[in-house]
Symmetry: C2
Subunit: 348 residues, 2 copies
């Protein structure tokens, strides 16, 4: 029998936890009634979790509660986290990966602390220069992977090349039927544009370009992130974070402007009645909850960070992401991709 995909969930992290976490799990279970290839470990207060499971009438043999007394507060600083977070639901869920009891962990709790203790508990993979935070980004052709989104504010070419290999591996694991097309984010598409670090990364990625590995599309500019021609977009954590937040702010600004135009007088409010279904469809298409879940890559085990403020639907999408990542053999894909780098180094 094949080993089950085991997801360790910090059930106590994020706003409205553990209610939203359990409600999200409930959505996941309902969507996977015909699948029996997963197992969920819920880390948190057993009494509270049992009550919530009961509220949603969840009775699955694919769930286990692992009791932990304490929870990491949102105010905890990453600097003191190691001392104060031992035996919390977050700590123990990550720890379960090292103990071979789970394949991936998911938390909607304190981001800074999650990264610090993930790094400490799981440790960095051999041959990875730095871990990176990857996210899903909507595009005209589906979804893309963008990294780094803020784990490293300054990066050299070795980091950016690692991010490309890990990002391509992540893309393959989540979308096994598609090919990864890597692009470097820059301020022009000509080969001579950009910083020295970008130029060096460009040359190396051109060498690494291959059908088995990834297609390298060269540089793209910010306005091409969402056209879908490239689906693995690589940048340093400073630029990636600014781009992500700017895109979020812009989408909100545009949608808010639309809302204001559609509700500012009686006539326009009436008109919404007629556009109700198309507008609902539009809203669904852009629903940020579908992209909820940033993936911490480069450690000896993947960690997914759900947005703290998301709801049950958003949390469900993060659980689903964990499931797909492991089903798609992320860790193996990363190891294979990183081995290209080593081969390259040896023959050079």
């Amino acid at each position: 029998m094949k080993k089950k995909i085991t997801i360790a969930i910090d059930a106590m992290g994020g706003e409205n936890s553990p209610k939203k976490n359990i409600e999200g799990l409930n959505i996941f279970l309902k969507k996977n009634l015909n699948n029996n290839d997963f197992f969920i470990k819920l880390f948190g207060n057993e009494t509270i979790l049992k009550k919530h499971l009961l509220d949603f009438n969840i009775k699955s043999e694919n769930i286990e509660i692992v009791h932990t007394d304490s929870v990491i507060s949102d105010e905890e600083s990453p600097l003191t986290a190691i001392k104060n977070s031992k035996n919390t639901s977050m700590w123990n869920s990550i720890k379960s990966q090292v103990d071979g009891e789970s394949d991936i962990s998911l938390s909607a709790g304190n981001t800074g602390v999650l990264f610090v203790i993930s790094k400490m508990i799981l440790k960095m993979m051999n041959d990875v220069s730095r871990p990176a935070l990857a996210g899903l980004w909507p595009s005209k052709k589906g979804m893309s992977v963008v990294l780094d989104l803020g784990a490293n504010i300054e990066c050299d070419e070795k980091n950016l090349i690692d991010f490309s290999e890990m990002g391509a591996a992540l893309f393959k694991s989540i979308f096994p039927k598609q090919k990864p097309h890597v692009a470097l984010l820059n301020i022009g598409s000509e080969e001579i544009k950009g910083t020295e670090i970008l130029k060096k990364t460009y040359s190396k990625l051109k060498e690494l370009n291959s059908e088995d590995n990834f297609i390298f599309n060269g540089y793209i500019e910010g306005d091409q992130i969402m056209n879908g021609d490239s689906n693995v977009i690589v940048t340093d954590g400073f630029t990636g974070n600014i781009a992500l937040k700017t895109a979020e702010g812009t989408a909100k600004f545009v949608v808010d402007s639309l809302k204001r135009s559609l509700t500012e007088n009686l006539f326009s409010r009436l008109s919404i009645l007629f556009s109700y279904f198309p507008l609902k469809k539009f809203k669904l298409k852009l629903d940020p909850r579908k992209y909820n879940g940033a993936i911490f890559l480069g450690l000896n085990g993947p960690v997914v960070k759900s947005h703290g403020g998301t709801d049950a639907v958003g949390f469900y999408h993060s659980i689903d992401l964990c499931y797909r990542i492991i089903k798609g053999n992320l860790m193996e894909e990363i190891k294979t991709n990183l081995s290209h780098l080593n081969v390259g180094e040896k023959t050079n």
Copy 2:
């Protein structure tokens, strides 16, 4: 009599020139029928320009054609531009500033060449470490100034401080009734976040914060660019260019998704009839032509770059921007602001 605001227009630059340039001028003239405080110098082929002025029935004593035979091609490289661009419409329009014949120049031609020859002809202001490219950005409260948008891919604290002073001066000149609120773009709003350069800039801007000069709002993240609390947003040219393009791409993606949802079947297409006016208003509000015109700051005279692909309405907005910049005494404002820096250095 007060000296007239004199705008030197490269009438031959950009797609569909000079037709769109003259048509844009026509819009400007119609909107300023009651103003007599401006003078337009049109640089380009006299015969062609005369014909177009006639086509739009433009007869104004506030316009003069300055004949030039040649035009800079869009394919011209900035590297060979100096040799090949002498006596073109672009060159001569900028040159007229040095000769005291105009206050500002505007071109929709080759961007790279425009920057190189502007720098060469106008030269950098005393006390400015580097020139910057500033743009207008829509916000919930109106418009903001964002700089640098790509003139400098790497910046130190001195550059960023100069950009803050010049950006605040630009904001004051365009929006004389509002106060500039400067913010530094970063990946977190806490004082300890970001690169060393940003931290040093932060400390210095905190010192420069004053009612006469500008209010310093500290760091903002990408999703706050458009909330309008800060209206002068400062960053290096790499980050600024990525943020600008990402915002453009995101707005396009959202609007395209909306369009698709509203036109994908007969029912949804019918619904547009009812939402026609609110949707039109929404479109107008976000019209990128209203923000057309990037301002090259830090030289001994301002140069405005219109988007090459814009139409007559977009070009009109660039002419209007030139008019407002000079009416608002941009150069004086910049000099006053830069003097704060010098005072600070002397007393420190």
